[in-house]
């Protein structure tokens, strides 16, 4: 009941949550590509989200075309992914540490890009990738955001799906599975890892760019917690929709991301928790989901033991 009431009286909050869910789903797909496809947790995403936002904010504030600014954000994300991949493959630095190194340095780089610790982009005055739709159709900004983010998500899903289906993408997926086998098939696993990190972080950079344009500012604390939010959406998707086809998995991540944002919006608006608890709650959720298979196994074992004792 309370939920229904919430829905009917808070359509703006829901609209905002869905928009955020769509925007962050691009990031979650990026996390999915490293965490699930390559099976390598990559912390670079924390840096590339920030870099994407910073790059876009700086360029837009200097009257660069917002689409060009968005493209630049993708490229800077790719560059961050390349840096981590290069450190990991060429110098054998453990992937987590390589990601942390890039993440830490991207803080400084973001400030260099922006020239300051944050850039406000007053959403009503500055152009963004949403404004062309507003001008064209005289549409309300909130709707323009929804439509543009939805279109971007759709394009991203299609491109990622097609890419993973190519010869190169297939080799990339195999690299996450079994590097020894992949090398025996004549594939350079280092190139695959670097390409995967570039793709993933390019997407996260794109998410950062759209996020900055949506919320109307970029600041240096934007990236923190990215990987956990990304994983949360991913895990919600995997628990609610245990699908195995690649394209259904992509769609489930988008839905998972929206659900995650809706739940957060609800929890925050009914004063269930202060917004500062968000990270703790999300991290707990992710930790719980990650140990779930182990707990399940333990419980099954316990029941088997009990059953044996009962039988004897």
């Amino acid at each position: 009941m309370a939920v229904l009431q919430f829905i009917s009286s808070n359509s703006a909050i829901i609209q905002g949550a869905v928009s955020l869910g769509l925007i962050f789903s691009i990031m979650s797909i990026g996390v999915f590509i490293t965490f699930r496809v390559l099976q390598m947790p990559d912390l670079t995403v924390e840096g590339s989200l920030l870099l994407g936002a910073a790059m876009t904010a700086r360029l837009i504030s200097q009257d660069v075309n917002p689409f060009a600014a968005t493209l630049a954000a993708i490229l800077v994300g790719c560059a961050a992914g390349f840096a981590s991949g290069f450190l990991h493959t060429m110098f054998k630095i453990p992937s987590i540490l390589a990601g942390i190194l890039t993440m830490v340095s991207s803080y400084s780089i973001a400030i260099r890009i922006m020239g300051t610790s944050n850039i406000p982009l007053l959403p009503r005055r500055v152009v963004s990738i949403f404004t062309f739709l507003q001008e064209l159709e005289g549409m309300e900004r909130a709707y323009a955001v929804l439509i543009v983010s939805f279109a971007v998500v759709l394009i991203v899903c299609c491109l990622v799906y097609c890419f993973m289906g190519t010869e190169f993408g297939s080799a990339l997926r195999a690299t996450g599975n079994n590097q020894q086998m992949v090398r025996a098939q004549g594939i350079n696993t280092n190139i695959m890892i670097i390409a995967c990190l570039m793709l993933s972080n390019g997407l996260v950079g794109l998410a950062g760019s759209i996020l900055a344009q949506y919320q109307g500012f970029a600041s240096v604390d934007m990236g923190a917690g990215t990987i956990v939010y990304g994983l949360a959406a991913l895990i919600i998707a995997e628990v609610l929709f245990p699908v195995r086809r690649f394209w259904t998995r992509l769609i489930s991540i988008v839905i998972g991301s929206i659900i995650y944002r809706l739940v957060i919006a609800y929890a925050l608006s009914v004063d269930f928790m202060p917004s500062t608890d968000l990270r703790l709650v999300t991290a707990t959720l992710v930790a719980f989901a990650l140990v779930l298979p182990l707990i399940r196994e333990k419980i099954v074992k316990m029941f088997k033991k009990l059953y044996k004792r009962g039988a004897a």
């Binding site: 190519t166 190169f168 080799a171 020894q180 090398r183 025996a184 594939i187």
Partner: protein, 265 residues
């Protein structure tokens, strides 16, 4: 063909646990040679195979394939010359991917992977179905099953097919039946023979099992402490018995053969 000249490899050089795992291995294969390599634990069989395939690099020596020096060529580059099947059935396949995807990966061994071509074509699919049918395991109807669903024997059969899908210059088999139950091991070995004969493949097969080593192939080698101490081929090899082998081992190495595993199998 494959030529190995005086290859040495030392692990952990300069430390108390230094191990001189290959101590001057030389070998020259002729087209169509089917060599079985036996030896006890730690004799250097797997190390030798891995050095040939490029998983390990020698500290000294030279390896050439058809006159091309591959001694320090990275593993993925020299994969175009070698088809490999590993001991661990998990090692040769991508378990989360479909059977057809694994075959498609193997079908492009040594070729550039395009970002603009689909990973499998319908023509290839029917070709894979045909090839799978020759295994006689019913896999031809399971093209879109994940390899993780297959048994160890089925995976090794698939790995063999993948290794020979593009004819390799040399087929490297690293105890590829050791992790299987005896019955499955026989099936996989028979399949190995069939594929080797069908394509007249040059093959190096490492095994723990003396009887397998004697009954398969046209040439047998025995390794001991990082050296090849025995190399018999043709007629002479065909007439060898397990007892002969043990005697030859004792005279060649000056030691008694103690490995239970080798005696019992």
């Amino acid at each position: 063909m494959l030529k190995v000249e005086d290859v040495h490899i030392t692990f952990e050089a300069g430390t108390p646990i230094e191990k001189h795992a290959l101590q001057g291995v030389s070998l020259s294969l002729e087209q169509g040679d089917y060599v079985t390599i036996i030896g006890g634990n730690g004799a250097g069989k797997s190390t030798f195979l891995n050095t040939t395939a490029g998983t390990l690099f020698p500290t000294m020596g030279k390896i050439t394939v058809d006159g091309v020096d591959v001694t320090y060529m990275p593993e993925y580059k020299r994969a175009r010359y070698f088809g490999r099947v590993f001991q661990n059935p998990r090692a040769g396949t991508a378990t989360d991917m479909f059977i057809e995807e694994n075959l498609a990966l193997a079908y492009r061994r040594g070729k550039r992977r395009s970002m603009f071509r689909w990973h499998i074509s319908s023509k290839e699919r029917s070709f894979f179905r045909e090839r799978l049918a020759t295994l006689g395991l019913g896999l031809e109807n399971r093209l879109t099953d994940k390899v993780g669903l297959l048994s160890g024997g089925q995976r090794q059969a698939l790995s063999l097919l993948m290794a020979t899908l593009i004819e390799p210059r040399v087929l490297l088999l690293d105890e590829h039946t050791a992790a299987l139950d005896p019955k499955t091991a026989i099936i996989v070995l028979e399949l190995t023979n069939k594929l080797v004969q069908e394509h007249n493949l040059t093959t190096l097969m490492v095994t723990h099992n003396m009887r397998d080593a004697l009954t398969h192939g046209n040439r047998i080698m025995m390794m001991h402490k990082g050296r090849i101490i025995l190399d018999v081929k043709g007629e002479e090899k065909a007439n060898l018995t397990v007892a002969d082998l043990m005697k030859m081992f004792e005279t060649a190495s000056g030691e008694e053969m103690l490995s239970d595993r080798m005696l019992l199998t």
